[in-house]
């Protein structure tokens, strides 16, 4: 019996997800024995045509990381969707847009203009920008189109499962891959991680008082962080209560608060809104100006509450940004 085919692919991501799989090396040996990895750009020579040549649905599962920002990434998402029985969004970027989707607060033009024209080190005169197609001495060169919107994978193609995290931990990756191979998959659409918030497993859980209310929020650099005490009890915003567990509390063990990379639980549609709701409800102030004062300790609500999930949030993108229809950027 031929081994099941597995593929890995990346898009707008940092490569940390790939590293995470590499870090898993010693652990998933058993799994690897059992599968045939047909595509893994980080480790193997990859030819798109080879994938195109595969029969549809011939890949048992594709672990797809990274958000979608370019036309090329969209194409690959469609291609791999066609070729895969199970398409898994691997990591926060594929699942929710990730940190790159914070770019959804800015227009494509703002982005390109700054990077290629306004950056303090830009020296060219006249200014120019990369072109999606360019002729150079008869050499036709193309670049993929840079999209207006950063998208999570499920906003481009249908996704069967998600493995959360920035990056996902070896433990949940191993469990997920095992589940795929054993065919013991939960209902479609599930996130393959515990469906309970991080506090459940946080070593600091016990230190949080049951009557906590906030008179101020302190930014982490403003306070000497107690290595044992719940961050919220130190007035430092921690996304743990609104974030799915399963990461083994690595950040709080590193004495920094959770920033939410595992995304919300299945019962929450918008991670940021929920965290905002919970934190604000527990603000002590009653007078409008005192409330404002307390909340001024959260200077960047979007970046704080949607650090990894802006693309998949209910609003998705700063709503008044233009759509630049031009093909060349």
């Amino acid at each position: 019996m031929p081994k099941p085919k597995i593929a890995f692919y990346w898009c707008a991501s940092c490569g940390g997800c790939e590293e995470a799989v590499v870090d898993l090396a010693e652990d998933i040996l058993g799994v690897v024995e059992a599968v045939d990895i047909v595509l893994w750009p980080v480790a193997m020579d990859f030819k798109k045509k080879d994938v195109e040549a595969m029969p549809d649905k011939s890949i048992v599962a594709t672990l797809f990381n990274g958000a979608i920002r370019t036309s090329e990434q969209e194409e690959m998402a469609h291609l791999l969707r066609r070729k895969s029985q199970v398409l898994i969004a691997y990591g926060a970027c594929a699942q929710m847009g990730g940190i790159p989707s914070l770019a959804n607060q800015f227009s494509r033009d703002q982005l390109l203009r700054f990077v290629y024209e306004q950056a303090p080190t830009m020296a060219d005169e006249p200014k120019s920008r990369p072109q999606t197609s360019f002729q150079n001495n008869g050499h036709a060169l193309t670049l993929p189109q840079f999209r207006n919107v950063v998208r999570s994978l499920d906003q481009v193609v249908e996704v069967d499962y998600c493995i959360p995290g920035c990056p996902p931990t070896p433990k949940i990756t191993k469990a997920a891959v095992g589940a795929v191979l054993e065919g013991k998959l939960p209902p479609k659409g599930s996130v393959l991680a515990p469906d309970i918030a991080l506090c459940d497993q946080c070593p600091r859980k016990g230190s949080k008082p049951a009557d906590l209310s906030f008179t101020q929020f302190k930014r982490p650099h403003m306070v000497k962080l107690d290595p044992e005490l719940c961050f919220l009890a130190q007035d430092v915003v921690c996304m743990g209560p609104a974030t799915r567990g399963g990461c083994e509390s690595v950040c709080t063990r590193g004495n920094m608060p959770c920033s939410g990379c595992f995304g919300p639980t299945s019962r929450v549609r918008d991670q940021g809104a929920k965290m905002l709701s919970s934190l604000c409800a527990n603000v002590a102030a009653k007078e409008e100006k005192d409330i404002t004062q307390t909340l001024s300790g959260i200077p960047d609500p979007v970046g704080t509450f949607y650090r990894y999930s802006l693309a998949s949030s209910l609003l998705r993108r700063k709503v008044d940004l233009p759509i630049d229809a031009k093909k060349s950027s």
Binding site: P41, F114, P120, M222, C251
Partner: protein, 509 residues
């Protein structure tokens, strides 16, 4: 959607076939690398089948500089680490240092030492990854070896199972040290302006002391492996010193007060192709020396020395193109700040004909020299009595305005530059990523290698690999991408079982 997409592809294929008739021959290596996204090389051949021009393209952009705007500055170490999951620690540290500068705050000695400890551990494990798994196979196994051998599997066959174990164990242990301080090894969280979030408990010290000693042994062992397998092979030496991979450019790197190599802190020094100091400046002055150029065919920006200006992809003293990363660092420094590394440094230059060395492939060796230095720093730092101090933070009080931080990432000089409002909210960010410094030289290398190697339309797997070697030596972040393992096994995962035993499937091909 699926059917529409299918149609689109069909249409595209039709067009392709039609266009193919009219096209000159063309070779695409896609994708190859990872800067921000993958890279690809397009090589254009002329009618004779010789290379007209090879382009290294980076087809992706994420725009961190822009979406950093509006974020609290103290979040930058964590946000910018997502630029790269391979070298998150480098971004994390550059950002953290930029925050120190922003808030004009000096971390307590223990915090500084922890940062350096973590950072050197990171450089060491990252270099080890490259030497043994990503770039190394080019040499250890040989550039013309069959592809299924030209990977870590082949390396292990050549150097032995025990070595393979050693590499993997050492990387794991080093990464555990990073995770101890940083929470996680991929995207650590320890950096804060004026210190680090977490210290070292005295009871946790002994295993790390042992690790540091083992790391030094390992680094020295690696040098020996390199000497045995590469330097003793005249073909390889010829390859390294051959013209195909040689450019006479400027070099940039960080040096300490004694002009010795330092990864974490110091001044940026630039030397010209003769090794003469061209400039030496603190991070804050980077804008006087570094500028960027845009090519319409790549999303990556090409750095050059600002006073010299951009003159296209060319060598020579008038061209502002410069190199960073191990070879550049060795070229700009007067030596290494630790004895064994100094020894290796001297051997390096003595062997390759004195300073500066212009052979791109010498980067591999320079990397090994740096591994020794990183390991020696580890030993020094972990034995520093202050390393277990709990005095880890200075709470900033200054009004933030602008901060620039620089570190030597494994892949070269990395600048983070932030400007903020009085509340410490980012109003402007500029990032000069390590590989960007090298981008122009890499492009030249690829072009030169392609031209030198591909003749009369003869393109073999081995030749393509040698083209790839031109940029892989720079280790441009996931230079590994093209390391094919057509023998089905992914290179990193298939080697050891949980008991760290080498497993049979390795020979499968």
């Amino acid at each position: 959607m699926n059917s529409a997409t299918q149609q689109a592809w069909n249409q595209g294929n039709l067009n392709a076939n039609a266009a193919a008739q009219a096209q000159r021959r063309r070779v695409t290596i896609d994708p190859i690398t990872r800067l921000e996204g993958h890279g690809k090389i397009d090589i254009f051949l002329d009618a004779q089948g010789d290379v007209e021009r090879a382009y290294l393209q980076v087809p992706e952009l994420r725009g961190f500089e822009v979406f950093s705007i509006g974020r609290p500055a103290e979040e930058m170490p964590q946000i910018t680490s997502r630029i790269c999951g391979v070298c998150p620690t480098a971004h994390h540290m550059a950002a953290t240092k930029a925050l120190d500068d922003l808030y004009q705050v000096e971390p307590p000695p223990a915090a500084r030492k922890i940062r350096e400890l973590v950072y050197n551990a990171f450089v060491l494990e990252d270099h080890a990854l490259h030497v043994y798994i990503l770039g190394g196979p080019d040499f250890i196994v040989g550039p013309q070896a069959p592809p299924e051998k030209r990977n870590v599997v082949g390396v292990i066959e050549k150097v032995g199972v025990e070595v393979g174990k050693k590499v993997i164990t050492m990387r794991r242990r080093l990464r555990e040290l990073i995770a101890y301080f940083g929470g996680k090894v991929i995207h650590p969280v320890l950096g804060l302006p004026g210190g680090v979030s977490k210290g070292l408990k005295p009871e946790d010290l002994p295993p790390f002391k042992a690790l540091a000693d083992d790391a030094l042994d390992f680094a020295l062992f690696t040098l020996q492996v390199f000497k045995d397998l590469v330097l003793k092979n005249p073909d390889y030496v010829k390859l390294i010193t051959g013209d195909t991979y040689t450019h006479r450019t400027y070099y940039m790197g960080m040096v300490d007060a004694n002009n010795k190599v330092n990864f974490y802190d110091g001044l940026i020094r630039v030397v010209d192709a003769t090794g003469k100091e061209y400039a030496k400046f603190p991070a804050r002055q980077y804008r006087d020396f570094v500028a960027e150029h845009v090519e319409p065919w790549s999303y990556v920006k090409f750095c050059f020395l600002k006073p010299l200006g951009w003159h296209g992809f060319e060598e020579g003293p008038q061209s502002g193109i410069y190199a960073v990363a191990p070879l550049a660092r060795l070229n700009v420094a007067d030596g290494m700040a630790s004895p064994k590394a100094q020894q290796a440094y001297e051997e390096f230059f003595n062997t390759l004909g004195g300073k500066p060395v212009h052979h791109t492939l010498a980067n591999h060796w320079a990397r090994v020299v740096e591994m020794i230095f990183a390991a020696e720093r580890l030993v020094e730092l972990i034995n520093d009595p202050e390393i277990t101090s709990s005095d880890l933070r200075v709470i900033p009080t200054a009004k933030p305005v602008v901060g620039v931080g620089v570190v030597e990432a494994p892949r070269g000089t990395l600048f983070h530059h932030y400007e903020t409002d009085a509340n410490g909210i980012i109003t402007k960010a500029n990032l000069i990523v390590a590989t960007q410094n090298n981008a122009a030289r890499i492009a030249m290398s690829v072009d030169k290698a392609a031209k030198g190697l591909i003749k009369k339309g003869h393109v073999s797997e081995g030749l393509l690999n040698m083209v790839e070697m031109a940029f892989r030596a720079y280790d441009p972040c996931f230079g590994c991408a093209t390391h094919s393992l057509p023998g089905h096994l992914p290179l990193c995962v298939s080697i050891y079982d949980p008991q760290r035993n080498l497993v049979r499937q390795l020979t499968q091909s």
